[in-house]
């Protein structure tokens, strides 16, 4: 599941274009992004506040089991890393 400041219709277009089947959630006021302390102030193309990239694996009891907090916006967790991390869930 992916979260950004994009409005639902922007995410809908992205889903349609890219063929994503996972849930995309909209956090236009960055409330949840702030709650997770991931706000990157003024980093949008027009100076908007956006999320810094981050990935969390949450287990069924709601506890974080793995996370990737990149130090470089270009470098994100790769699918195989996330698959490997998810093997620890049971």
């Amino acid at each position: 599941m992916a979260i950004s400041v994009d409005a639902p219709n922007v995410s809908r277009n992205l889903c349609a274009k890219a063929g994503y089947t996972f849930t995309l959630l909209s956090d236009p006021n960055a409330e949840v992004i702030r709650k997770y302390d991931l706000l990157h102030v003024g980093a949008g193309t027009n100076g908007q506040d956006i999320a810094r990239p981050a990935e969390f694996l949450v287990d069924s009891s709601g506890v974080v089991r793995w996370l990737n907090l990149t130090e470089d916006i270009r470098v994100r967790a790769r699918p195989e890393q996330m698959m490997e991390a998810s093997k620890a869930l049971h």
Partner: protein
């Protein structure tokens, strides 16, 4: 009348350095193997430097045959500036990130939230963790991916 030959390698070198920078954002940033370390782009910058070096050599050493005494240094400086900006974007600007000290760590509870999905339905983290999957089983977990978005 000008009879010396056009110093094409200077122009090719400059054009290649423009391509080296632009192709990262337009193409190579899409694939992790060429994005995380922009080796293709540095290779192109290397070729551009070779062409510019050859062009400058022709303009100054072989100046009776080739043109480019003005265009050579101007385009070489412009290419170095492009390389500098590209390197800054990759090695400095991309690493300017907030501290995020209070982000949930491994072993901590992921803060509950409720947000709209693409259909306008409100989705809570607790719903995602407790709603049975197609198989009828409760999910083992949820992967939360925060991304910059397209605004």
């Amino acid at each position: 009348m000008e009879t010396r030959r056009t110093n094409w390698s200077i122009w090719a070198g400059f054009l290649l350095s423009v391509v080296a920078a632009a192709s990262y954002f337009l193409l190579f940033a899409r694939f992790p193997t060429t994005r995380d370390v922009p080796w293709v782009n540095f290779l192109l910058f290397g070729l551009a430097a070779g062409l510019l070096g050859l062009g400058l050599r022709r303009a100054f050493v072989n100046h009776l045959v080739y043109r480019g005494k003005v265009a050579g240094p101007v385009l070489a400086v412009a290419s170095i500036a492009i390389f500098g900006l590209f390197s800054f974007a990759i090695f400095v600007a991309a690493k300017r990130l907030p501290a995020s000290q209070d982000t949930p760590h491994v072993g901590q509870k992921a803060p509950e939230f409720r947000l709209e999905d693409t259909a306008g339905r409100l989705v809570a983290l607790s719903d995602l963790l407790s709603t049975p999957l197609f198989s009828g089983r409760v999910p083992k977990g949820v992967l939360l991916v925060f991304y910059r978005g397209y605004w």
